[in-house]
Structure formats: structure tokens, C-alpha cells
Assembly symmetry: C2
């Protein structure tokens, strides 16, 4: 499996925030949303969400107001939030293999290097393959915005599988 529940829960958390963020004039919309509300809506463990949202905050995707009636809100419009950034914040660098290390702790889109070059004269052939795979993943992530996911989650449930497949095909 490629992503952990950190990414899963984190994205669902952002979608929930994005749903509040609708066109409410002033940036920030209405008041912030508490984690507790999100945890109940998505049926996720609150304590675990706390640690996940901390990652999003550290990445500047989300801001918090503390105290009673506090909570979290997005720092940008959902349409401005691309999933490559989100996944980077949640999972760290996206590399298809342990031997892939970014050249400088670089971001998702950073170029990547294989560290067991000196195998036996010929360099490891897998590098080409993993590079292509990573390219495919990053491209898919970068092309998806939070706004899309919010819109998708608001659609009626019935033919969602079909539409998801169609959307995915449209990307390809």
C-alpha cells in the first residue's frame, strides 16, 4: 500500500474544513471548526487527528485559534490547495523506494537519486522505473485540488464509483 492513514485522515480533515470554507465573503468564512466536530463527522479518533492536523499547521495549510469556540480553518481557498503539497506535509517526501532520497530534503516534485549506484559496473536499472512511477504519482496529486474533492464529496452517493472512475480516466 502506498499511503498511510495519515494521508487518508488528513485529506478527509481538509475536505471537512473546505466544506465550511464556502463563499462566506471575508477570508476564513464563519468561525473555525473544532477538531471534535470533525472527528465525530468523519468517525475518526480525536487524539490521532490532533497529531495529524499539527502536520498541516506546520506546513501552513491550516491555522488554529485556541480556547473555547476555537478550531481550525484553511489559510487559502480550496481551489488553491493542491494535493501534492498536502501529501508532502502529511507523509513526507513521496518516494517509491527506500533507496530514493531527495537531493537535499527536497519537496515531492524534487528530483530524486538512487543511493546504491556502485553495484557492479552497471547502475541499478530500477531507477528508471521508480522515477517514472514517482512522476505518475506526483502528477496525479498535483492535478487534484481540494476544491475538487469537496465538490466530489457533495455529490449524491449513488453513482460515485462510476464518476470516480470516469474522472480518473479523464486525467489519463
Amino acid at each position: 500500500m502506498i499511503f498511510t492513514t495519515k494521508a487518508e485522515y488528513g485529506v478527509r480533515l481538509l475536505v471537512e474544513l473546505g466544506r465550511q470554507h464556502d463563499g462566506a465573503g471575508a477570508p476564513g468564512g464563519r468561525g473555525p471548526t473544532s477538531l471534535k466536530a470533525i472527528a465525530e463527522a468523519e468517525e475518526l479518533p480525536l487524539a490521532y487527528l490532533e497529531r495529524i492536523v499539527a502536520l498541516l499547521k506546520k506546513a501552513g495549510l491550516v491555522e488554529a485559534t485556541r480556547g473555547a469556540h476555537g478550531g481550525y480553518r484553511l489559510t487559502r481557498q480550496p481551489a488553491e490547495i493542491h494535493m501534492d503539497e498536502v501529501v508532502l506535509a502529511l507523509e513526507g517526501v513521496v518516494a517509491p523506494m527506500t533507496c530514493f532520497v531527495a537531493e537535499d530534503g527536497a519537496p515531492v516534485s524534487g528530483r530524486v537519486v538512487c543511493n546504491h549506484e556502485a553495484d557492479s559496473g552497471h547502475g541499478c536499472a530500477t531507477k528508471l522505473l521508480w522515477t517514472r512511477v514517482q512522476g505518475g504519482v506526483v502528477k496525479a496529486l498535483a492535478q487534484t485540488t481540494l476544491a475538487e474533492l469537496v465538490a466530489f464529496s457533495n455529490r449524491p452517493q449513488q453513482h460515485q464509483t462510476a464518476t470516480a472512475v470516469r474522472d480518473a480516466a479523464a486525467v489519463a
Copy 2:
């Protein structure tokens, strides 16, 4: 990380077999290659390789001859072997998330379904995202053949990173 060393080692093993498989007239080329030779060439643990090659054999990608001077050989031309099939054999179904289960133990390219639909009225928004990601991965794998990897591994080592990046860009 997305793939385990099973995929890494398995691909390297196939590349090594593909290198022997060059145009030697009769299908099968010269005699089979022993695992021991491959393990030494790639500096991989022999006992572990045994288990990995068993997966490839079960998938029909490779055939074995037992006994002294035995070993493994490819069942097809390297240009006919696509990496989606290889990775499927080695890693099992490629799903970006645990909640993704194929509709019938289907192959890599099979359509996929999220199993926690009934969340709270609205279906999980992540499905769209993971579907797109999986599409990107499968596409990248299916477009790469063993022949390409063999050719790549035979190139001089020097500018390999640069060429890998260029090749990956060409895919996109």
C-alpha cells in the same frame, strides 16, 4: 514508501535474466542462469531471492530447470514483459490505500472500490484522489518494458540520473 524490496530485487533479477536473453536464436538463448550467479552479481541474499523468484515463476514470467547446471530463464521476450504484470506478481495488487479492494481479486488494472462508503451521508472524498494516483502508477508501470530497463542498465553510468529524469519526463 510505495514498493518493498520484493519489487526492487525482483526487477533487478529480471533485468539480469533479460541481459542473458539477448538475440541467441533459439527461444531461451543459452542455458538457464542460476540464482547464485544473480545473487553474486547484484549482491543480494540468495535465500531471499529464492522466495522472490518463486513469485515470478508462479506468475509464469519465468521458468526453471532443476538439478545441476539448472537455473531460470524468461518465458517471453523482454520487450513483451510489462512492469505492471511484474509488480503485480511481486507485490500483489497495487492499491494506494488499505480501503481499496479490487472488485474480485482483480489485477492491477482492475477497477477498485473503497470499502467505507457509508460514512455519514457523503461518501469518502479520498476515493477520487486515490483512484487518480493509482491510475498514474499503473500507467507508468504498464508503459515500461523489461527491454527498456535492460537497455538502460547497459548504458554508461555517468549521466544516468540525467537520462532517467529525461525519460521520465518523456512519459509525462
